[in-house]
């Protein structure tokens, strides 16, 4: 066996075809919403895009170019696109709607369902900080999941500002304790969160509020409940924004797929506002995620609010209904003396039919025999064909 590095994998024809069909459907959906695709390089500078990506240092694949400068294999697409928007596209008026489709690289050890190289298809909406923009990208994400053939899915919606405001109000000038609580939520450790709260010197009301936030999940009522708990201005503004997005999502008709969770912290440090994550029945891992990153563009010199998402298509392929195969497979078998007829026939089929047409030369003295498989199809060398044309007489 010729080995490959662990963490990367081969996609054989059936899986590759399914993956490409899904990606094509998703990209077409994005195009219909006015998002234009851009392609950025696989390699970026570590000092700029690498650091802005906020992928943990030890998870970046780094290499040196011929001048000794450190490069990274892109670990996500948001930072490279921010670089392009702030440089090459700096004269294009905002808002900009861009889509991307590429492989990204992260060295992740012993984390289930993760590979070092994976495929992402996503969008970035740059230059619009309103709830309208948040709702648009979330609704588009839902449409993309449907287009990809994911039937049953849920999108969890949170807002960084709610928790930050709440923690700031309850623990002013105590950043270490705030960080402890945030870390617990980041690691989904509710037991640790409650235990940490117990050990902190807090006003009784604040403690109860911080405990209640763990159960504030659901629809618009979760926002309303939270508004009754939250007293600080920052959190109230964040909740108002979240409620606005929720209402807009009802208009898009995707309300049934969305639920609010105020404990979401977001896995990227550049997130500043609304964040979201998608899950499907039958898969234990998130399929897609995204959020608002209003400060990232400023680090490339063009301050602008922005939001976006990425679908992890190599996970989606595991749960998506396989869309019907595009076209049929046909086989043209020929002996040398009938080559011209066979090839012309194949060329005509390729032009006229919605089909994949394979030509196979069969030398004299070799059995030509495709076999009928009893279901109206044919078998040749172990593969199935809808139609067979023989040029051997």
């Amino acid at each position: 066996m010729f080995e490959k590095p662990r963490g990367v994998k081969d996609y054989l024809p059936d899986l590759a075809a399914k993956l490409r069909r899904i990606e094509w459907r998703v990209l077409e959906t994005m195009a219909r919403w006015g998002y234009r695709q851009i392609i950025t390089p696989t390699l970026e500078y570590y000092d700029t895009v690498g650091l802005a990506s906020s992928t943990a240092n030890e998870r970046l694949f780094k290499l040196l170019d011929n001048k000794g400068t450190t490069l990274v294999l892109r670990s996500e697409m948001t930072a490279p696109i921010a670089r392009v928007v702030a440089s090459l596209l700096k004269d294009e008026a905002l808002p900009l709607r861009l889509s991307h489709h590429s492989n990204v690289f992260r060295a992740i050890e012993e984390e289930a369902g993760r590979e070092w190289e994976f495929f992402q298809t996503g969008v970035e909406l740059v230059g619009d900080g309103s709830p309208e923009a948040d709702a648009e990208v979330i609704a588009l994400m839902a449409e993309c999941l449907k287009a990809a053939g994911v039937r049953e899915f849920k999108i969890a919606l949170g807002h960084i500002g709610v928790l930050s405001g709440l923690l700031e109000a309850a623990l002013p000038e105590r950043p270490d304790e705030r960080q402890t609580l945030r870390e617990c939520l980041l690691h989904r450790n509710y037991v640790g969160y409650r235990a940490a709260l117990k050990g902190m010197d807090l006003a009784p009301g604040a403690r109860a509020d911080l405990e209640r936030i763990l159960r504030l999940r659901g629809g618009r009522e979760a926002c309303d409940d939270a508004l009754s708990v939250v007293r600080d201005d920052a959190s109230r503004a964040a909740l108002g924004h979240l409620r606005d997005v929720w209402d807009a999502l009802q208009v898009y008709g995707v309300g049934g797929h969305v639920s609010i969770d105020l404990t979401m912290v977001g896995n990227f440090s550049y997130y500043t506002g609304l964040i979201f994550e998608g899950y499907a029945a039958g898969l234990g891992f998130p399929l897609c995620s995204g959020g608002r990153y209003d400060n990232l563009l400023a680090s490339f010199g063009r301050p602008a609010p922005a939001t976006g998402f990425a679908l992890e298509t190599n996970r989606i392929v595991l749960v998506a209904d396989d869309p019907p195969e595009d076209g049929r497979r046909m086989l043209v078998l020929y002996r040398k003396h009938r080559r011209e007829e066979a090839i012309l026939h194949a060329m005509a089929l390729r032009r006229e039919k919605d089909a994949a047409v394979e030509t196979v030369f069969v030398p004299e003295g070799t059995e030509i025999g495709p076999e009928a498989d009893g279901e109206g199809k044919w078998r040749f060398k172990g593969r199935r064909y809808d139609m067979v044309f023989r040029f051997d007489e």
């Binding site: 989904r188 450790n189 509710y190 037991v191 029945a281 234990g284 998130p286």
Partner: protein, 230 residues
């Protein structure tokens, strides 16, 4: 506990649809304690399964399928979504470091993780620590600025200092009887351990109603227990 089983041994559609939640519960030390707590919470998990070879038990009325797993594998079943929720010791959770929700402290199977050695233990020139928990042990000593060689063993850890494989061990201590019987002493208490209820990231969203229901029932049962013990 009879199940409808289709011709190919797979569950029939009718049965599949009745299962709302799959719960991984570890066989062994924790099982009976977990089962008792679940029963107090109104979820009729059978009391005794250790004498059966069954790996799956369906609780028809509760709509729950119980997966009887090896303790160390529970976080894996839950992380991949093969089980929606699971019961697991904090020791395993810390060692495995899986991406799951840690929802409840069940307060059962209470014990502690400790550093253990011979009574006359003195710092060694080349310290070696034997343990079933290499990740926990490495992290613990690293955080204290100590360089130790961690040796992974699969059981009977107490042997290691007795035969000179290691000068200390890191292991669970419940009553302390085992270490006393082997002439060892607890040198440092690392942290307390109880069993936790964990949930898969996707199940926590897709089945939030059922997960919350199980959580609330268990929490109520835990509260009743704590009320009884002053």
């Amino acid at each position: 506990m009879d199940r409808e089983v289709g011709k190919d041994g797979k569950k029939t559609m009718a049965e599949q649809s009745r299962i709302r939640l799959k719960a991984a519960i570890p066989k062994g030390r924790i099982y009976k304690k977990a089962a008792a707590l679940f029963r107090e919470a109104g979820i009729p998990v059978p009391d005794d399964v250790d004498d059966t070879r069954k790996l799956l038990v369906t609780l028809e009325e509760a709509g729950i399928e119980v997966i009887l797993a090896k303790p160390a594998d529970v976080p894996t079943y839950v992380e991949y979504g093969a089980a929606d929720i699971g019961v697991v010791g904090k020791d395993v959770l810390m060692e495995e470091n899986r991406s799951v929700y840690e929802l409840l402290d069940l307060g059962i199977a209470r014990c502690r993780m400790s550093v253990i050695g011979l009574p006359d233990w003195k710092p060694a020139i080349h310290p070696r620590v034997a343990t079933k928990y290499p990740n926990i042990a490495s992290r613990y000593f690293r955080e204290r600025g100590q360089q130790v060689e961690v040796i992974k063993l699969n059981g009977s850890i107490e042997l290691a200092p007795l035969v000179g494989l290691a000068d200390r061990i890191v292991d669970l201590v419940e009553s302390g009887q085992t270490i006393r019987e082997n002439g060892l002493v607890e040198l440092e208490r690392m942290f307390d351990i109880t069993s936790r209820l964990i949930a898969n990231r996707a199940s926590y969203r897709m089945k939030s109603g059922f997960v919350d229901e199980v959580c609330d029932r268990l929490q109520a049962a835990i509260d009743r227990r704590e009320a009884r013990v002053p």
